[in-house]
Symmetry: C2
Subunit: 211 residues, 2 copies
């Protein structure tokens, strides 16, 4: 099983489809964010879903009524999962998780977010479990926080972004309890995306073997 | 000056344009959210901008790199402002405010969000001011919180959603310091949207006069 998720943070339809096709054997899923969807239209989710399962990284953070609408549109376009914030409360998460598989952000990879997340992530994890989220986001840039979050929710999968361009390492993420690592720029901005992806998969495998 | 902002939470292009056109004399701006944009495409922002200034209520809540991309796409499509969350930190807000006018969510209208926001809104308001946000969101459903937020940031405009369908009252919002009220379903789901909008504008005017 591959444990690499491609963060497809491009803004051009053709380039996005090409890179997804090129990497399909190396990745478990494709994570798309708003810049791609707003630039090309929501149909890109349908098209990418033919290549690999798509996670809509929409960091949904609204009232339940709006969260539910966004989740439904993602679902109708073929998304297999959606990423949602926990700050809006249990009902807002449930508005997503009642529509499709929902992944809650337990912590973010950027420095500035620590101010709130490090104080509040325990509560977010509780809310996420309570609202039937299937997975959590915890960043590879703060690998010790992955272990902390895993200790709170050993039964929930952890997806770790921040590998590569943001400075995190796949091996550190896996060692600390991540189930999947999310990599974007380090792969698709390289001259040889397949080789980089294979290298990351190799690093993940050897970390798991030596664990 | 009108102080009513239309929350255009429809999902159909024609209906959205029709209602915006119908109400243009009664409203200061049009607030669009992701359900409309994902259903019809980002061009709707351009089209609505010809009728009234558009606020992209994207509740942006990502790392600075991604926030900046989303803000740029909103700007390129004619949006006059974007709504962003503060809990990602100052740099994430600045990634928006360096591109276009940015409005930060100080508090949300739904019950479940109180858990987090009532503890942290003071810090969020500080970050918003520091990051040069031009306005704050504070809900009419919790009117006493508007006064609290206004007291922290008297120089920053306050926009209050939650009027109508969510139970808040325009007069309470204005009395407590809101500069604009945001109304959606109560207007466009009515049989006579113009009359309802005029009624809300009248309520706002008489509240301001009697203050």
């Amino acid at each position: 099983m591959k444990r690499l998720i491609l963060a497809l943070d491009l803004e051009e339809r053709g380039a996005a489809l090409d890179i997804a096709e090129l990497l399909k054997e190396e990745i478990a899923a494709i994570k798309v964010n708003y810049p791609l969807v707003l630039s090309t239209g929501m149909e890109i989710v349908k098209e990418l879903s033919k290549i690999r399962p798509v996670i809509c990284d929409f960091k949904v953070a609204d009232i339940p009524y709006t969260n539910g609408k966004i989740a439904r549109i993602a679902y109708e376009n073929g998304a297999k999962a959606i990423i949602c914030h926990g700050f809006m409360g249990k009902e807002s998460i449930e508005a997503c998780s009642s529509v499709l598989a929902t992944i809650v952000v337990a912590e973010m990879s950027n420095e500035g977010s620590g101010d709130f997340f490090e104080k509040y992530s325990q509560r977010i994890v509780e809310l996420a479990i309570d609202a039937k989220a299937i997975a959590l986001i915890a960043p590879a840039t703060k690998a010790e926080r992955i272990a902390y979050i895993k200790s709170m929710a050993p039964e929930v999968k952890i997806l770790s972004p921040g590998v590569g361009a943001q400075g995190g390492r796949a091996s550190d993420a896996i060692k600390n309890g991540a189930d999947f690592v999310i990599v974007g720029r380090a792969i698709y901005n390289s001259n040889d995306p397949v080789t980089i992806a294979k290298k990351i998969n190799g690093e993940i495998e050897s970390t798991l073997t030596s664990a």
